[in-house]
Symmetry: C2
């Protein structure tokens, strides 16, 4: 017995994927880095497996403790340690909630470069360990690019401190990148210094109706050539909008439905609003844009964002679903979409919807159950069985297009059997060799990421 | 005999540091990646040392072949392979000259994110292997952040291909970062895909006179808080300006000399010129700014840039010099400067000048010979002997401030004995362990970066 009640047991033993069953006996909640280091060294000596645990908002099973591991939660190490106005940057412990850092940065007059749906409960250490993406990647890049300093303990029990006060440090190989995005298999993040971005002065939102996903990308290309640097360029198709409208009871944004929707945000202090409107008008004439709705207030902007941000929740509340987090070369999306639609056509009561960070070449593809008989009230197990073969079909398709089977969610337990479709055998072998270097006893998050 | 004449021998056997003497017998100029891979595999099997060689514009001896190694020049692999308009990105071979990529990007309506003094002869492969910095880092970050795809051959002879068509690929540890900035000790870069930036629309340059280096940083902090994102924020002191004026015979930029000069560039299409002028006026009132000279044409802008870009050349043509490439936490620069001045005061005919990328927390400190008797016509050997002890003093000072002994130039042969001042013993040991993983026979650039 772990001394935890059932809710706590489920809470600490897995992430949001929730498809794996927890099985662990011990939960540790260290209060400071020294305690974490002591735990790692003890576990190394006694060959005890550890699962590092942040906000557990992952979607790939990376934080599942299902084989009697010890869960090591960083949640009590949640102090903001320092604001460095001249970089500018924040230094903090691994367990700080991401939204807390967003608030802190805004108070200092800057912008935290990371925003994602889980910001309210994800922790920065977990975000770094998974190289988190989200809605600001198009402007700021992945979280990796903003990490200045890092303090980690390796599986061997060594503490590595990468200095947080300096932006440039070309003194040989930069080892901190081995830990960013490694999902806790090489080391545990204890502390980080994250650079802050200049805050946009007049964020401006428009919803654009487009004939298809390919045209959406042509539009982005033209905006960039004219000098616009979008803050967001999010896509969703008519299928997504229908589910959102049904679940959240919101109105149709345009007079009539269009095949695809782009939520564009940019800083009108950087790129003049009237110049943008002139560009849009030209694109309407050329039939690239079918409909346009600018937000004229922050309330209207929030309403438009709700259409995009409500998608995941609306799907999980009303449908059975299989989710894919796909990166592809930009020119492959239209063909990929057609292929996935064709795959689903062969199955009864199932269809795909497409949404996500199109500006980053990253879509979240959801295969959902159609019709009333297969709603959440129906049998999820049956849906998963009926659609069981589609995973491999979709992952193979992605592999054949030189895409990524996990653009931002990571590999965890969920996708490790498909890893070879995005990474070569020799590369996976190097991952294994680095595991032997950084975690020779194999105590950190065993069974995750690297196939057996 | 290598069959090379003396000029070719010196050209291919060392970099711009020129303080080490080449000693090699064989120069290879492969024409394609397969040939490079074949050479590496052959050398691994027969235990032959290789020095990967790009444009040899480095300043740390990273490309020196001084122990009978084989020089492997990538210079003939200089094809631009593909433009990807939707990322946007360029895919090219390792030997393409950096300025060529700048031109190519501009032709496509975008901006190559890297610019540095050596752009006319440095090769992109070498730039990646040293994670090059330069004058655009303040806006775009180091080159590392712009590398999408990479093809490398490890010292073990394995080819790793990191896909260049996708921006997001969270499929476990991202191994390409082991090769970026590793100075050729883990692998040889064969091909790269580099993202392009949105081109600035109205680049605008002003020269600002400041009372000292600390105030310069306060000015930057205020500009950023107001929402300005500089394209450049370069510093030089009065000592630098005197040497440039003497060598290039240019006029004093202000009515009277000031202690420090900041060359600020920003995009006036993003941040209004008149708003900036109002800010500057407020700073003049508060005595942060002593003098201001805006460039009102591209000719005037080029004249201002010449003051900054002429420094290195003017110093090497007129003085003996010891160079340091220093990163420090921003608030430490004023104290560091005072300490270096004090160190030099103890030596005859020697003084320091300070210039560089202050906005990145990176200064190039040059200790130069003063007075006519120690000009280039004097004895360089004598100068180096007289000032021999200062290296360790300066590096120790940097280490004590948690700075970097090499912000952008790398370690090479020149600084490996000081590496422990910027990296911990356990970290250096991990570098060594990764060397065993990626280059088990130790054939790639032996003796560089990692201390013996």
């Amino acid at each position: 017995g772990s001394g935890l009640n059932e809710a706590e047991f489920l809470e600490y033993g897995r992430d949001r994927l929730a498809q794996f069953h927890p099985d662990f006996d011990l939960l540790l909640l260290p209060d400071n880095p020294d305690e974490v280091v002591a735990v790692v060294r003890y576990c190394k000596e006694h060959n005890l497996a550890l699962v590092p645990s942040g906000g557990r908002t992952g979607l790939a099973g990376g934080a599942v403790a299902g084989q009697g591991e010890i869960v090591l939660s960083l949640g009590r190490m949640n102090r903001v340690l320092e604001f460095q106005p001249r970089l500018p940057a924040i230094r903090c412990e691994a367990g700080v909630i991401t939204a807390e850092l967003q608030r802190y940065a805004a108070e200092q007059g800057f912008c935290f470069p990371l925003d994602l749906a889980a910001a309210g409960s994800s922790q920065i250490g977990g975000n770094i360990a998974t190289n988190a993406g989200g809605t600001r990647v198009i402007r700021y890049g992945m979280l990796r690019d903003w990490i200045v300093g890092l303090k980690v303990v390796t599986g061997a029990g060594d503490v590595l401190t990468f200095p947080g006060g300096i932006l440039k440090n070309n003194t040989g190989p930069d080892l901190k990148h081995a830990f960013i995005g490694s999902e806790g298999i090489y080391g545990i993040i204890l502390e980080a210094t994250i650079r802050l971005a200049i805050a946009p002065r007049q964020p401006t939102t428009v919803l654009i109706g487009v004939p298809d996903i390919d045209v959406a990308q042509v539009i982005l290309q033209e905006l960039r050539r004219q000098g616009m640097q979008p803050l967001a360029f999010e896509f969703f198709d008519q299928g997504c909008l229908e589910i959102v409208r049904e679940h959240l009871n919101v109105a149709e944004p345009f007079r009539e439905p269009v095949p695809g929707y782009v939520l564009l945000e940019w800083d009108a202090a950087e790129f003049d609003f009237d110049d943008a409107v002139t560009m849009f008008a030209g694109m309407e004439e050329r039939h690239l844009i079918r409909a346009l709705r600018p937000a004229t207030s922050s309330t209207q902007s929030a309403e438009l964002w709700r259409l995009r941000e409500g998608i995941s929740e609306s799907i999980s509340m009303t449908r059975h679903v299989r989710k894919y987090d796909v990166s592809l070369p930009a020119e492959c999306f239209a063909g990929f979409q057609a292929n996935v639609i064709a795959l689903c056509r062969d199955m009864a009561h199932v269809y795909p919807v497409f949404f996500g960070h199109l500006g980053d070449g990253n879509l979240h593809v959801n295969i959902v159950s159609s019709g009333a008989e297969s709603r959440r009230t129906g049998d999820s197990h049956e849906f998963m069985e009926d659609t069981g073969n589609i995973d491999m079909e979709i992952y193979k398709l992605i592999g054949s297009l030189n895409g990524s089977i996990s653009a931002e969610h990571g590999i965890g337990l969920l996708k490790k059997d498909y890893l070879h479709l995005s990474r070569s055998a020799v590369e996976i072998d190097y991952m294994r060799q680095l595991k032997s270097v950084f975690d020779p006893a194999g105590i950190l998050n065993p069974g995750k990421v690297i196939p057996d």
